[in-house]
Symmetry: C2
Subunit: 346 residues, 2 copies
DNA sequence: CTGAAAGCGCTTACAG
DNA sequence: CTGAAAGCGCTTACAG
């Protein structure tokens, strides 16, 4: 069933069928009704590809999750409490506006080939990127090519920066880290360690800086031995904590995300230390698991769902208006106090 | 940049460009090389819609997550540790075979309109459905219409059943429930309660049956007071457990999934009972959180990732071969013993 | 091995 | 208000 057949049955031309489909004004109420009736009767839906070819707007968004971390596991994303809620909000918001989302996962750089193709062959008209390292070159290239793009957690270096030509949605990592560290300091901690995330990512960089600033602001000197590099995985949190505790005896650890905090808890338990009695820890993100841990994890909540929503609706706007606009959101974070930090009495 | 321009530059016809793109045999090595060179130089990628219109196969799969549960929350899927790993495997497997996946979420029946449209307007060529109730009518209709479909956890009633014309991937819910219940019985429990899932879903039905059969097989009579209806959400597990404990004193509860088990743990704690000392519990699914609970949850592992993989690759096969074939998988489950069940000594 | 031409199913100026 | 026609960018018989 196609437009020609509908036209014949309704006794009009294909043009008129098209006008009815696209809800144009210049059609008699009577013909419109007649055509609509035939359309309904035959369950006719125009061929999306034909519509696109003929010039209609594409309503498919690409959602690209960059996840280079767990390179050896069978399923790379399954453990991620971070990407999943984000995705579902993107889909929700998009669907509500008659958009659909094509979801793809980038495990390694070569996977960007597929991403590029989706733009080049016009399968998608715009894309959202999350999980990339700071200044991800493949994304920059796409922006330079003029595609409509929204990125999560990317730094905008200046007007020359490609990211200043797209929709940028960040959370206040610096502020969150500052607040988390300050909280520990307020509780009386001085010997505070930090286990950083993947330093290629903006969030990890900013969280480290927030930690340092809070220390400096309160006159606590920063000891490099207390700063250990992780990479945001649970395992890296475990290993970093092990390493840390071999040589140092901090009274608190600020971890750059919750997954690593889970690893840290394991390591701490193996060292026969109790949380928070012997050592306080604080995470970042407030992933779903955080509240179920024993003890429940004190952390910094990132408003990931709002970020997803903002990115999606802005991107859809850009596509509807047919304009590449610049927007830069910094979403505020919130300290979630649970049971892994203890007031130090001296 | 389109095929005509490439053709002109390379000094051949559009037909030849197309032949090179599609890797057909009848082109001289020399012309092929020349054309390929121009294509690379201009970064040309054929317009997907045009290809489709002209008769090429569509390589987009729909992934439809049916999630009617949490109707009032802002984000319906975000808490779901069940759908997310499934999705990522589907995407992974599809991407590896040059397929892309369009992901959509069905929160209510009207959302099926979008699903239908995606098939009708040829945006997708096949679809995977997960989370539906048993005998989901909207899916049946699509199968009857001849679309290529894979379903997860749907019962096949017979040859007349539409589901006997598609790819069905189930887990052994009955066997898993049987084994879980048997395990509790082996530990000495007799007074075993069951909190069921959403009884519209096949898994909930089968798990209840498995529970009953295990009881009957060991000569324990089934008490209807010990069977409470839940709906698979954490909250329903909480409420059902509350209700159960008001009137009964089971020594063990078999919950139809892990989310409800989490709710049950909360309710049990509020009743000042200890797990597993005062009461044993066992869940189903083995979601990510399960191992982090305190105490770590004994449960039945569903091979969800394999199910995703099997469904996807079968569906792609069907699409490639251009045939609607029937396949029915029953994936075996595995009892995962952790710390929420105790041996009863009498 | 290669090209000219028809056709896929639409939309959109252009006439009237 | 409506229709005939051109065109979107491909693929694929059909000739040669």
């Amino acid at each position: 069933m196609n437009a020609s057949e509908i036209a014949k049955i309704a006794g009009v031309s294909r043009s008129t069928v098209s006008r009815v489909i696209n809800n144009y004004g210049n059609v008699t109420d009577e013909t419109r009704k007649r055509v609509l009736h035939v359309i309904k009767e035959y369950n006719y839906v125009p061929h999306a590809s034909a519509q696109m070819l003929a010039g209609k707007k594409n309503k498919i968004l690409g959602l690209f999750i960059i996840d280079r971390k767990n390179e050896n596991s069978f399923n790379k994303m399954c453990t991620s409490s971070y990407f999943s809620p984000f995705s579902s909000v993107v889909i929700d918001v998009a669907n509500k506006q008659q958009y659909n989302v094509l979801n793809s996962i980038v495990n390694e750089n070569t996977d960007f080939t597929n991403v590029r193709e989706l733009f080049l062959n016009k399968t998608i008209s715009a894309g959202i990127f999350i999980g990339g390292k700071n200044n991800e070159p493949a994304i920059m290239e796409l922006i330079e090519s003029g595609y409509k793009i929204a990125v999560i957690e990317q730094e905008v270096a200046g007007e020359q920066d490609p990211f200043s030509k797209c929709i940028v949605v960040n959370s206040d990592s610096f502020g969150g880290a500052y607040e988390a560290t300050k909280y520990l300091i307020t509780l009386g901690h001085v010997n505070i360690a930090h286990i950083s995330g993947d330093m290629e990512q903006l969030t990890a960089i900013s969280r480290l800086e927030g930690y340092k600033k809070a220390m400096v602001d309160t006159g606590i000197s920063i000891k490099s031995n207390l700063i250990i590099k992780g990479n945001y995985t649970e395992d890296s949190g475990y290993k970093a904590t092990k390493k840390l505790l071999q040589k140092e005896t901090p009274t608190a650890i600020f971890l750059a995300n919750d997954s690593m905090a889970i690893g840290a808890m394991k390591a701490i338990e193996e060292s026969n230390l109790k949380i928070p009695d012997d050592i306080s820890i604080i995470g970042f993100d407030d992933i779903e698991v955080a509240r179920y841990l024993e003890p429940a994890l004190t952390t910094v909540r990132v408003p990931l769902l709002q970020m997803a929503s903002v990115a999606t609706s802005n991107l859809i706007n850009a596509n509807e208006e047919n304009v590449n606009f610049y927007a830069n959101y910094k979403m505020s974070i919130e300290l979630v106090i649970r049971n892994t930090c203890r007031k130090l009495v001296e």
